[in-house]
Symmetry: C2
Subunit: 82 residues, 2 copies
């Protein structure tokens, strides 16, 4: 398992409820791909959302996001952490 940071643009005006619902939609199906979404951070003003996950691959992360209705613009492996 590796860690990934993925980024969504174009989420201007996202509310706390919408972020929670989107995250719940990921959590509901993440096991199908062996993914776990750990955390998400959002900026309603620029419309940017960052999601941190553990997953077998970037493709697995993207498949969950796509099925949940919010494809990521980038999924970046982050093997180094401090």
């Amino acid at each position: 398992m590796a860690q990934f940071m993925d980024v969504h643009h174009g989420m201007k005006g996202i509310t706390a409820d919408q972020l929670r619902e989107a995250h719940q939609a990921d959590l509901a199906i993440e096991k199908d791909e062996g993914v776990h979404f750990e955390k998400a951070w959002a900026d309603p003003e620029s419309g940017t959302v960052y999601c941190l996950s553990e997953a077998p691959s970037a493709e697995a992360v993207q498949r969950i996001h796509e099925r949940a209705g919010h494809r990521a613009d980038e999924v970046v492996p982050v093997p180094l952490t401090v």
Copy 2:
């Protein structure tokens, strides 16, 4: 205090030691601006680094990163978290 995610590009080939040293350089001076860098994630292949901080402003985050020798390409406030 608010949370910020900042992003650095162009860090291709960054090692675990270099990430730790860069983070330490931030920690050494962060109090001057009331900033705290909580965590950083890096991808040596694409050269991307994400840093999560608590700070009074995006400008304060950038001032610490600049003085530490690694200006961020973006500093995004992330008021929503899940």
